[in-house]
């Protein structure tokens, strides 16, 4: 054993490696991404790891590995679980041979997500056992216990953490590489009565799942991480039930001399019913402190009804805890203070603070997406248009002054939404923007749907040759894998032509006039057509030169600032200066300035089809 300062996600990865995981597959998504990246960085040679093209593929790869006796793990964020839910719901009926853990990162707040869905509820729905750690140190231990349980029961299990555990850091004790378990997979053993799902098999296995979960509820009541902390002082007839990071928030707020009894639930499903009855014994009231869904609150209410216990259960459903959003040390403190009938300690008054600037996330200085949006905006000025966006950095194209994202729903949705709009409003010029990684994840099916069903739209692929938003993961277009191999690149233009699109043009978005002209020409074509805007992510490419403003020529019109909204352009003393620490020399502002006052930048060369270099 040795000590390391680890992020929760790193601890989860090291715990999985210590448990002898053989195969790990996932799709990037905040706050889950670092689990798989850490596996790739710290794995031994015999561990296989991949970024799959989406979560459904990851789930199926992991299932095949677990069928073959390999310990397998899937990593994704909560909305990624939706993509993987089709295979997972059926997989529970089939089961696995070796341990398989589905690691899902939930995002209360939400801080970087579309939804506040709760994987604990998904566990109830899918009937999969679920682990819910409260700290980095515990996440490291519990992921190993999750593999043990999964393998013993022959079922995939959820390991669900939230942002504050995933992205919290702690100094913790971890096993040395030499102490890791080694699991030698037996290989796939043919047995069509076991591995082929049919209604007849499903009804038999469903009964087994229900019986198993009833047994497991009792077994998990003895699991040491489902525990009760005795009350102290005057609060002995009160209880607090909590889970995950909220257990830490509760602890921060407990008065050592005088506090309610506490139930910490580590396995929200199957719910440890016997432990809950033991906790409720002799209590008058319980406050459930939860984030996302009132899972424990509903379970305790049910247990009280089932056993005829006269205990009032309070929480989200009774308005004692906020029904949505992220909890905090002080929001939990206020809820507990109200529950035990104490005054909440007054938070310092905000007072007369000056109005602060707001900082919504923005496209980076020099980001090629800005140029792509601006080119389409100029080309389509005055026309009736809809710009369907998608998930990635380029969702930020919605902000002023670009204002070029009219819709955003979920991965790959923009291409299909544009079709729906077209079928209702055929006179609207429809655009769908999609990033390269999102195109591979779930944009191809939508494109085929559009082509087959005779939609009229322009697909704009924003190809920056990486998965930028989540921290630059490789994808099929990059020609690199997580195993460190250099492989054949999947060519987006060839994919589109293979579908049947006859108009597919690739252009450098930073070649502004040419980009505008290309958009005008391509959008005028009938049917489904595509533009691939190709230019590398500026976080990865090294700037070749920086732009400067000639103060003699700058008249202070601020056209560059107001049209582009680039953080590198800063108004100062009635003119504009360029923040050299941010400028990448992309030259877009040089091309936009009507007075030729900006110069000195240098575009990063982009290889276009036909060997042309823009």
């Amino acid at each position: 054993m040795h000590k390391e300062f680890l992020m929760g996600n790193e601890a989860i990865a090291l715990g999985a490696l210590a448990a002898g995981v053989n195969v790990v597959a996932g799709y990037p998504g905040t706050p889950s991404t670092e689990v798989l990246e850490t596996i790739a960085r710290r794995r031994t040679q015999d561990v296989y790891v991949e970024w799959s093209i989406n979560e459904k593929a990851a789930m199926e790869v992991a299932a095949g590995a677990a069928y073959s006796g390999a310990r397998a793990m899937v990593t994704c964020k909560q909305v990624g679980l939706n993509v993987a839910s089709d295979p997972l719901m059926s997989l529970e009926y089939i089961g696995v041979k070796a341990g398989m853990v589905v690691m899902v990162a939930d995002d209360p707040g939400p801080i970087s997500s579309q939804t506040e869905q709760d994987t604990r509820t998904f566990a109830q729905f899918s009937k999969l056992p679920c682990f819910d750690p409260s700290s980095v140190a515990e996440a490291y231990e519990m992921i190993q216990e999750a593999f043990e349980l999964s393998e013993r029961l022959g079922t995939p299990v959820f390991f669900r953490a939230t942002t504050r555990v995933d992205h919290g850091y702690e100094s913790i004790e971890v096993a040395d590489e030499g102490e890791w378990q080694h699991n030698q997979p037996e290989g796939f053993v043919k047995d069509s009565s076991r591995w082929v799902i049919f209604p007849r098999l499903s009804v038999v296995n469903h009964a087994k799942i229900e019986a198993r979960n009833a047994r497991l509820s009792d077994e998990l009541s003895s699991y040491e991480r489902n525990f009760v902390v005795p009350g102290a002082g005057e609060c002995k007839r009160l209880g607090i039930a909590t889970h995950g990071i909220n257990y830490a928030y509760v602890r921060e707020n407990l008065d050592a001399e005088n506090h309610p009894r506490v139930l910490r639930v580590a396995t929200p499903f199957p719910f440890p019913e016997r432990k809950a009855v033991e906790f409720l014994e002799g209590l008058d009231e319980v406050l459930c402190v939860e984030e996302l869904d009132p899972v424990i609150e509903r379970e305790l209410t049910y247990v009280c009804g089932k056993y005829g216990l006269d205990v009032r259960i309070r929480g989200k459903l009774t308005g004692d805890v906020a029904p949505s959003g992220e909890n905090s040390v002080e929001s939990v403190g206020a809820a507990i203070a109200a529950f035990v009938g104490k005054e909440a300690s007054a938070a310092p008054a905000p007072g007369d603070a000056p109005t602060l600037p707001v900082r919504p996330p923005v496209l980076c200085a020099g980001c090629p997406h800005r140029a792509s949006f601006y080119a389409v905006k100029r080309a389509m000025a005055g026309k009736k248009t809809i710009f369907c966006g998608d998930i990635g950095c380029y969702t930020l194209g919605n902000a002023a002054p670009l204002d070029m994202v009219d819709t955003c729903l979920c991965m790959g949705a923009g291409i299909d939404i544009a079709q729906g709009v077209f079928h209702v409003e055929p006179d609207t010029t429809c655009f769908a923007f999609v990033g390269d990684s999102t195109f591979f994840a779930s944009g191809i099916t939508g494109t085929i749907n559009a082509f087959y069903n005779q939609a009229d739209l322009t697909l704009v692929v924003l190809d920056n040759s990486t998965t930028a938003m989540t921290g630059h993961q490789p994808h099929p277009g990059t020609g690199r894998t997580m195993m460190g191999e250099v492989v054949a690149k999947v060519n987006i233009e060839a994919v589109l032509r293979g579908i049947g699109l006859s108009v597919v043009e690739t252009v450098d978005p930073l070649d502004h006039e040419r980009a505008v002209e290309t958009v005008r020409r391509v959008a005028a074509e009938p049917g489904v057509k595509a533009i691939i805007f190709k230019s590398p992510c500026v976080v990865l490419a090294k700037p070749q030169a920086r732009s400067v403003v000639d103060p003699e020529k700058c008249v202070g019109c601020q056209r560059c600032v107001k049209q582009l909204g680039c953080p590198g352009l800063v108004p100062r003393d009635g003119k504009v200066v360029i923040d050299e620490s941010l400028c990448t020399g992309c030259t877009l502002c040089e091309q936009v300035c009507p007075f030729g006052a900006i110069s000195g930048g240098c575009r990063i060369p982009v290889e276009l089809p036909g060997g042309e270099r823009a």
Binding site: P31, H167, A353
Partner: protein
């Protein structure tokens, strides 16, 4: 007793490395460390913060408002934004250089620099201002602001760590070619 520190700034300024340097230095002294970071969408120019808690009695990586011993701010408006976390009499070390967001030029609230600086001076008795423009000019680089600020925090006596502790952490975490610049940054005053 735990020492509670808030680091704050604008995405991309280097707050995460600074919190890791504090953590490494504390661990080398056998002090338990818990931190929480902003990672994700906000890294693209948004407001970012780290909570750093040193000592055994911190149950959780996040602290309550009114409990920070030190707010280490990479940007003055962000210092004001995190001020509710400062405990009465706590210390604020802040860079004086504003980072003006695009929103301030495209219809959002303007950046009231004078108002922000006056507010900090009025509300914080233990305030250390770091002229980061001058630091960048004298050091020949704007990229070591995080270490300049750490140096100021050490000298303010608020980290419970010495310059030598931070120096050892720098050597552990950074490649050797960056040592000389960062050593000068740590000592810069």
């Amino acid at each position: 007793m735990s020492t509670n520190i808030i680091l704050c700034g604008v995405g991309g300024q280097g707050t995460i490395l600074a919190s890791k340097l504090i953590a490494s230095a504390a661990m080398a002294r056998d002090v338990a460390v818990k931190t929480a970071e902003t990672i994700g969408m906000a890294q693209r120019g948004g407001s970012v913060f780290s909570h750093v808690r040193l000592g055994e009695d911190a149950a959780c990586p996040l602290m309550a408002r009114g409990s920070a011993d030190l707010v280490l701010a990479f940007e003055p408006a962000e210092a004001v934004r995190q001020l509710p976390f400062l405990k009465p009499g706590g210390c604020v070390v802040t860079s004086t250089r504003p980072v003006v967001p695009v929103s301030a030029m495209t219809g959002g609230p303007a950046y009231d620099y004078e108002g922000i600086m006056e507010y900090l001076k009025a509300k914080v008795s233990n305030l250390v201002l770091v002229d980061s423009d001058r630091a960048a000019a004298e050091l020949g680089s704007a990229k070591c602001l995080n270490v300049v600020l750490l140096g100021a925090a050490v000298r303010a006596g608020e980290l419970g760590l010495s310059e030598g502790d931070i120096l050892a952490a720098l050597h552990e975490r950074l490649p050797e070619k960056l040592w000389e610049l960062n050593e000068r940054a740590l000592a810069w005053a």
